[in-house]
């Protein structure tokens, strides 16, 4: 221990010091630990130390059946649990070449987009808190609560939903679902402009965000950035556009791109995405096709021998599910390519040279969910 301290100290320049941000720190939203090298207030190096909430889901998947795996995915990116479930279900369904009813596809897409809005509203609230505007948190939660109520009525759970199963949905939608979703959209259309008037237009907020944490398009691609982080840098990476899944090929929506690549661009991409998600829901909500809500699968699902890759767009970016099957009831190897992991890896690149306050604000725009990174 003594030895280690000495060697660490040697690598510092005289003015620099070292600080442990996390694992218990308000800005890391969970148990991320950042090892910061700082000169006064200026960040010299950011080194994430992960694993505080690692549950080795990939190893557990090698033991579990495919139905069980779906339940584990909730616990990764818990803010887009439905989309995580969908990723595994789509991978299994594609491997089995199941014909999924249109009704299932449409419902999955609607709930997926609702999940995205819920995730973004929470992000917006926390984003405000990270730059010191505490009121945003409650505004974000006010609207998110309504979505969670819809989820609760539909499938009994508010956060870790488990609504998807390989072959469809666990239950059919609640009779109130369509009505309440429409009510929510009507409500949220009046509330989303409030977000802009409370935070976006604020001069202090803009000064804090503009020109901070700049990520170029080349770097975004090289670091594997996805979701709003990539799109804020002008990198067209929306999986919903490039590899549409479920009912996303039936709807028209714009991929939000901004060229600046700074924190404010990432912020605006997310705000704009909420409008786009609402438009997707509006296109689908009135014509949910009639039909079955699931197709029968074997009680024990055995995937054919081979490799299967499925990517979906969660609220944070591209989630990949890579299954290597040997024909048994469990995958031989299952890898989750989580969006947060890649987005975190670029933190050092964009935070160095900024102040401590910039680091916190930049990290907020990356929208990290730690269980998603740690898996």
């Amino acid at each position: 221990m003594q030895m280690e301290t000495i060697t660490v100290n040697k690598s510092f320049k005289s003015e620099e010091y070292f600080i442990n941000m996390g694992p218990q720190h308000p800005a890391t939203h969970g148990v991320l630990r950042l090892l910061l090298t700082i000169d006064g207030e200026i960040i010299k190096k950011v080194e994430p130390d992960l694993g505080y909430i690692h549950r080795s889901i990939e190893k557990m998947c090698e033991r579990d059946s495919y139905q069980q795996i779906v339940h584990l995915t909730d616990r990764m990116d818990y803010l887009s649990s439905h989309i995580n479930n969908e990723a595994v279900c789509l991978a299994v369904e594609n491997a089995l070449q199941l014909e999924i009813p249109d009704r299932v596809k449409v419902i999955r897409t609607i709930i997926g987009e609702l999940t995205r809005i819920a995730s973004h509203t929470l992000w917006w609230g926390v984003m405000g808190m990270d730059v010191g505007a505490l009121t945003t948190y409650f505004y974000g939660f006010r609207d998110r609560e309504l979505i969670n109520d819809i989820f609760e009525e539909t499938c009994g759970a508010r956060l870790t939903m488990n609504y998807n199963i390989p072959g469809g949905l666990m239950f059919d939608i609640h009779p109130n679902f369509v009505k309440r979703t429409k009510e929510f959209i009507a409500h949220f259309k009046t509330k989303l402009p409030e977000y802009d008037s409370l935070l976006t237009g604020n001069i202090i907020f803009q000064k804090r965000m503009k020109g901070v944490g700049i990520l170029s398009k080349e770097d975004a691609i090289s670091y594997g950035a996805s979701g709003p982080v990539g799109r804020g840098s002008g990198y067209s990476c929306d999986v919903r556009k490039h590899h549409p899944y479920s009912a996303l090929d039936k709807v028209t929506f714009n991929e939000t791109l901004r060229q600046e690549g700074d924190s404010f661009a990432r912020y605006q991409v997310r705000i704009q995405e909420m409008w786009e998600s609402m438009s997707i829901i509006e296109q689908l909500i009135d014509n949910i096709p009639e039909g079955e809500h699931q197709v029968a699968t074997n009680a024990v699902i055995k995937l054919p021998k081979g490799e299967f890759y499925q990517k979906v767009e969660t609220a944070r970016g591209e989630l990949g599910v890579y299954i290597i099957s040997t024909g048994t009831k469990s995958p031989y190897r299952l890898k989750f390519r989580s969006p947060g992991f890649s987005n975190l890896s670029l933190l050092n690149h964009i935070a160095v040279g900024g102040k401590i306050g910039d680091l916190v604000a930049t990290m907020a725009t990356l929208d990290l969910v730690i269980p998603d990174i740690d898996r």
Partner: protein, 153 residues
Amino acid sequence: MNNEALQNLISSWHPDLTFTEEGSQFLNISVQPEQLHNLMKQLKTNSDTHFDYLFCLTGVDWESALGVVYHLESTTHRHAVVVKVQTEDRENPTFDTVSDIWATAEFHEREVFDFFGIKFNNHPNLKRLFLTEDWDGYPLRKDYVDEINMVVK
């Protein structure tokens, strides 16, 4: 570029690669560890392939061998390819790093090192990412045993 054209182009650079599309939606390329870095560099820099996006890097324990699977996509041509590399050396498996080609590989390789014990030459900061430095063994290997913490059915 479709898979066939890709296969023709890439095999013109390195004739001894093996290609397969069996049991996968992508074109799979198996490469020898010595050729890995060279091939990857070419895949990224050649303007016809231009695989600038490494979207997944997976360590796999094939029991007979340890390997790494790279999923590549081009953001301009929108075609994808899978590169696989294997070694039978379980004691000291080593590949060249690709983190100088794709920055995202730095973290993904650290994860693979952490869970599979696969070392990457020239990696800028190869140390454990999730587990503590004194952790014994590599948990995602198939022969890893932990009778206390692992629930095996």
